[in-house]
C-alpha cells in the first residue's frame, strides 16, 4: 500500500530531474535546475504564506534588545555544535575557544541570553557538519533545493539532519514548550533575512539564480573559513585600451555602506 505511491513519486522526481538535465544548458553546478526551480517556487509559496508574515510581525513587535537576546540564546546552543565541528575538522584551538564561549555565555551570560564572550574578544564562528564533510574531502555535489529548508549542495543536504540535531541538543522535554522554542527560532532566523530577501527580490533579474549563486559563493567562503583561494574576477575586464580615456561614468557607484548592511542578513546562520 505504502510502497507504490512512494515509488511513483520517486519515479516522477527522477523523471523531472532527467528532463531538467536534458532541457537546460545552464550552470554546470546546477544540473537539477528544473527540479530546483520547482522546489524553489514551492518554498517561496510556503514562505510567503507562513514564515514571512510571521517574521515581519516579530520584527515589528520585538524591540531590538529582545531580538538580540533571542539571537544570543540560540547562538549559544549552536556554538557548541560549531565547536564540535571545529574539533572534527582538526582545528583544536578554534574548537576549544568555541566551547569556552559556551561555558562563559551559559554562566556569566545567563543561559546564553547575553553574548559576554564576544564582548571579551572571543569571536563567534559558524561551523556545521556540511563544512566538516567538505574538510574531510566530500565534494559539493550538485546544487539542491531542499523542501522547506532551501538552498543546499547535495553534501550539505546529506549533512542537514546531523546539523538540525546538533543545533538543538538542548530542548525542553515538554512538547508544547519545544514547539514554541522551535517556532521562535525559525521566526527569528527568518526575520534576520528580511533585508537580504528584499535585496534579492529588488536587485535581481532572476531571483532563483541570484540566490543560488550567492549561496554557492558564500558556502565556499565558509568552508575555507574566510580564506578561499582567490578566484580571478578580472578575466572579463576589458583591456585598458578598450576602456575610454575619459571615464564618462566616474561619478557612478553604489552604496558601499548600504550594500554591507543589506546583505548582512544573508550571513546569519540558517536553521
Amino acid at each position: 500500500m505504502g510502497k507504490t505511491p512512494m515509488r511513483r513519486a520517486l519515479a516522477a522526481l527522477l523523471a523531472t530531474v532527467a528532463v531538467a538535465g536534458c532541457a537546460t544548458a545552464g550552470d554546470p553546478r546546477d544540473p537539477w535546475e528544473g527540479y530546483n526551480r520547482a522546489m524553489y517556487s514551492f518554498n517561496e509559496g510556503v514562505d510567503k504564506a507562513v514564515f514571512k508574515p510571521l517574521a515581519i510581525g516579530y520584527d515589528e513587535v520585538a524591540p531590538l534588545p529582545v531580538k538580540a537576546a533571542v539571537g544570543n540564546f540560540f547562538g549559544n546552543i549552536e556554538d557548541l555544535w560549531t565547536g564540535l565541528n571545529n574539533l572534527l575538522q582538526g582545528k583544536g584551538g578554534d574548537g576549544a575557544a568555541d566551547i569556552g564561549r559556551v561555558l562563559i555565555n551559559t554562566t556569566v551570560g545567563i543561559l546564553g541570553v547575553f553574548d559576554v564572550a564576544t564582548e571579551m574578544g572571543m569571536e563567534k564562528r559558524d561551523e556545521d557538519f556540511g563544512q566538516t564533510l567538505a574538510v574531510w574531502g566530500v565534494s559539493d555535489g550538485p546544487y539542491f533545493v531542499v523542501p522547506f529548508f532551501g538552498p543546499r549542495t547535495l553534501r550539505d543536504a546529506v549533512a542537514l539532519p546531523a546539523d538540525l540535531y546538533g543545533n538543538s541538543w538542548v530542548q525542553p522535554a515538554d512538547i508544547a514548550a519545544r514547539n514554541t522554542t522551535t517556532g521562535l527560532k525559525m521566526v527569528h532566523a527568518r526575520a534576520s533575512l528580511l533585508g537580504a530577501d528584499r535585496a534579492a527580490t529588488q536587485g535581481s533579474l532572476d531571483k532563483y539564480a541570484y540566490i543560488r549563486d550567492f549561496y554557492l559563493q558564500q558556502r565556499r567562503y565558509e568552508i575555507y573559513d574566510g580564506q578561499p583561494p582567490r578566484e580571478r574576477f578580472d578575466d572579463a575586464r576589458a583591456p585598458a585600451m578598450e576602456r575610454p580615456a575619459i571615464y564618462a561614468t566616474q561619478a557612478d557607484g553604489v552604496a558601499e555602506g548600504a550594500m554591507r548592511l543589506e546583505l548582512a542578513g544573508l550571513t546569519e546562520p540558517r536553521h
Binding site: G26, D27, L64, A68, G71, N72, G75, D115, T118, E123, K124, R125, D126, R198, A199, Q202, G203, S204, L205, D206, A209, Y210, D213, F214, Q217, Q218, Y221, E222, G226, P228, F233, D234, D235, A236, R237, A238, E242, R243, Y247, A248, T249, Q250, A251, D252, G253, V254, A255, E256, G257, A258, M259, R260, L261, E262, L263, A264, L266, T267, E268, P269
Partner: protein
C-alpha cells in the same frame, strides 16, 4: 614667542598633513572617511532611520557614488560578452545596472542600527594600483561579517569597483543571470530587462 612658534609649528603640521591627504588619500583612509561620514549622517537622520528610501538614495548619490567606478563594475558583471558590446550599449548597461544597485542597496541604510565596523590592516605596497580594503562588521549575537572593497587607482584617486560581502562579490553574483539573459535575448535583451526592472521598481516606490 614660544607660544607663537608652537602655533606656527602646529599650523604647519596640520597643513602638511592635510596636503598629503589631499595629494594621495590611501584607499583604506578613503573608505573609512566615506563610511564614517555617511553613518554619522544616518545616525542623526530620523527620516532615514524610519525607512525613507529616497533620502537614503540622495545621501548615497552625494557621498558614496563619486568614489565608485560603475563602468568597471558593469564590465565585471557582464563578463566576456562585454567585449562585443558597442560603446552605446555599454553606456546603457552601465547606467541601468547602476540604477538597479543604488536603488536596491541604498535602502539598507535605513536598516543601520549601530553595528560596529572594524578595519583590518591594509596589506598593500605604496606602488600598488589595485588593492582590497578589508573590514569587519560586528553585531551582537552573530558572527562578524567580512566586507571587502576592491579599489583601483585612477590618477590620484581610488575608485571602488567591487564589494565582497562574506565572500560573495555583489558584482560577479550577477554574472550567470546576465549571461543567460544575453544568451537568450542578446545584449539589447539584457539592457531591456534591466531597464524594465528599474521602471517596475520606480513604479512600486511611489
Amino acid at each position: 614667542m614660544t607660544m607663537f612658534g608652537r602655533n606656527v609649528l602646529v599650523a604647519g603640521l596640520v597643513w602638511l598633513a592635510s596636503m598629503s591627504v589631499w595629494a594621495a588619500p590611501s584607499p583604506d583612509a578613503l573608505v573609512r572617511t566615506v563610511m564614517d561620514e555617511v553613518l554619522e549622517i544616518v545616525r542623526k537622520d530620523e527620516a532615514i532611520q524610519s525607512g525613507d528610501a529616497s533620502r537614503a538614495v540622495a545621501l548615497v548619490d552625494e557621498k558614496v557614488l563619486p568614489h565608485f567606478d560603475f563602468r568597471i563594475m558593469t564590465s565585471l558583471a557582464v563578463g566576456r560578452d562585454w567585449r562585443q558590446a558597442t560603446p552605446a550599449q555599454r553606456d546603457r548597461l552601465t547606467s541601468a545596472f547602476r540604477t538597479l544597485l543604488v536603488r536596491t542597496y541604498s535602502n539598507a541604510l535605513t536598516q543601520y542600527r549601530d553595528q560596529q565596523i572594524d578595519f583590518k590592516p591594509l596589506r598593500a605596497k605604496p606602488s600598488d594600483t589595485d588593492v582590497t580594503v578589508r573590514t569587519e562588521v560586528r553585531q551582537a549575537g552573530a558572527k562578524p561579517i567580512d566586507i571587502d572593497y576592491a579599489l583601483e587607482k585612477q590618477g590620484d584617486n581610488w575608485k571602488v569597483y567591487d564589494v565582497v560581502v562574506a565572500g560573495v562579490s555583489l558584482v560577479t553574483n550577477y554574472r550567470s543571470s546576465f549571461a543567460s539573459e544575453i544568451r537568450s535575448n542578446g545584449i539589447d535583451g539584457l539592457i531591456k530587462a534591466l531597464e524594465a526592472k528599474n521602471a517596475a521598481l520606480a513604479g512600486g516606490a511611489k
